[in-house]
């Protein structure tokens, strides 16, 4: 259900950002990782350079490599199957597979979740992209708020400790503050530096505390 709505919202947002229906559907078919897709169309709509826009989307997709790392031990897929399974390595399939007690369960969970979400995500993207024209002014319907709401809903469960909150706070400051001075799409990449900066500051503080003891 939730994936269906975000797929629809993505289709509408993408079409509203000036992408054609084939371009919108190509993104869902080929990229198939929601946050990266929203980030890309947002950056393109803001007039970003295509490679800068793609870089932001790419960095958001890097987390999937770490899901893959945990899944490859759990699923123990034959090498020939891995290139095909890779496209389904996303937040939801990782969550379902990692929650299964057995390897068999994990494999079934991965395949069923992967296939059903892939179909649902692409169908709802198409509906959203086609519907955007019928809807007309997407802003009057408030649909431009769907993208940021999806980001916030993904972000909220990650804000577990002070470290995450510090990173998020600094990233907001960098992302907004640099917006008028850097080319479109670059501020979000600069904001990504909040992660190493906060880690470095915390590491330093811990070292100072240990030396004080």
């Amino acid at each position: 259900m939730a994936v269906g709505l975000s797929g629809f919202a993505f289709g509408v947002t993408s079409a509203g950002s000036g992408l054609t229906v084939p371009q919108t559907c190509a993104l869902s078919l080929l990229v198939f990782t929601g946050a990266s897709q929203f980030a890309l169309v947002g950056a393109l709509a803001a007039g970003g350079n295509p490679l800068t826009a793609a870089a932001g989307a790419f960095f958001l997709g890097v987390r999937n490599a770490f899901y893959g790392l945990r899944l490859s031990q759990l699923l123990a897929l034959p090498r020939v199957v891995r290139p095909f399974a890779a496209q389904w390595v996303i937040d939801e399939t990782a969550a379902v597979s990692l929650a299964q007690p057995t390897r068999r369960g994990a494999r079934i969970g991965f395949a069923v979740t992967g296939l059903s979400l892939y179909i649902l995500w692409n169908l709802t993207t198409l509906l959203g992209a086609l519907g955007a024209d019928a809807i007309g002014d997407t802003e009057a319907w408030g649909l431009d708020a769907a993208g940021p709401a999806v980001f916030l809903a993904l972000l909220a469960p990650m804000l577990k400790t002070g470290t995450e909150r510090a990173v998020a706070g600094l990233a907001v400051l960098l992302g907004l503050g640099l917006l008028p001075v850097l080319p479109a799409g670059v501020p979000v990449l600069a904001a990504a530096l909040a992660a190493p900066v906060v880690l470095w500051v915390r590491g330093r503080r811990e070292r100072v505390r240990e030396e004080g003891r």
Binding site: M1, A39, F58, G68, L152, A168, V188
Partner: protein, 102 residues
């Protein structure tokens, strides 16, 4: 054309990182610092993107109906509402505020 370049680059990059996770031997990326950074990177990106897509129009900072919509989404998240309701709250409140003409 530019859009297709962006789509191609994103598709290729996102697929390669997914595949990389499945192919590299365990232990290569399994270092504490790499893991910490990988967990914090999406936090930074999502926070910056949320702020930019709410409080800016292109490169110009603005405060409009989207801020009210995002506030509604935040309240829904605090009330532990399901994902669907969070996004719906943002959309409905943004549309509502615009309809009133604020």
């Amino acid at each position: 054309m530019n859009t297709w370049i962006a789509i191609g680059a994103t598709a290729l990059g996102c697929y390669v990182v997914k595949l990389l996770g499945l192919l590299v031997p365990a232990g290569v990326l399994d270092r504490p610092l790499v893991k910490r950074l990988a967990a914090l990177l999406p936090v930074a990106l999502l926070a910056a993107l949320t702020a930019q897509q709410t409080f800016a129009d292109g490169r110009v900072p603005v405060l409009d109906a989207r801020a009210a919509g995002l506030a509604a989404a935040a309240v829904a998240l605090l009330l532990r509402a399901p994902f669907l309701l969070v996004v719906a709250a943002a959309v409905v409140v943004t549309a509502g505020v615009r309809a009133i003409g604020a």
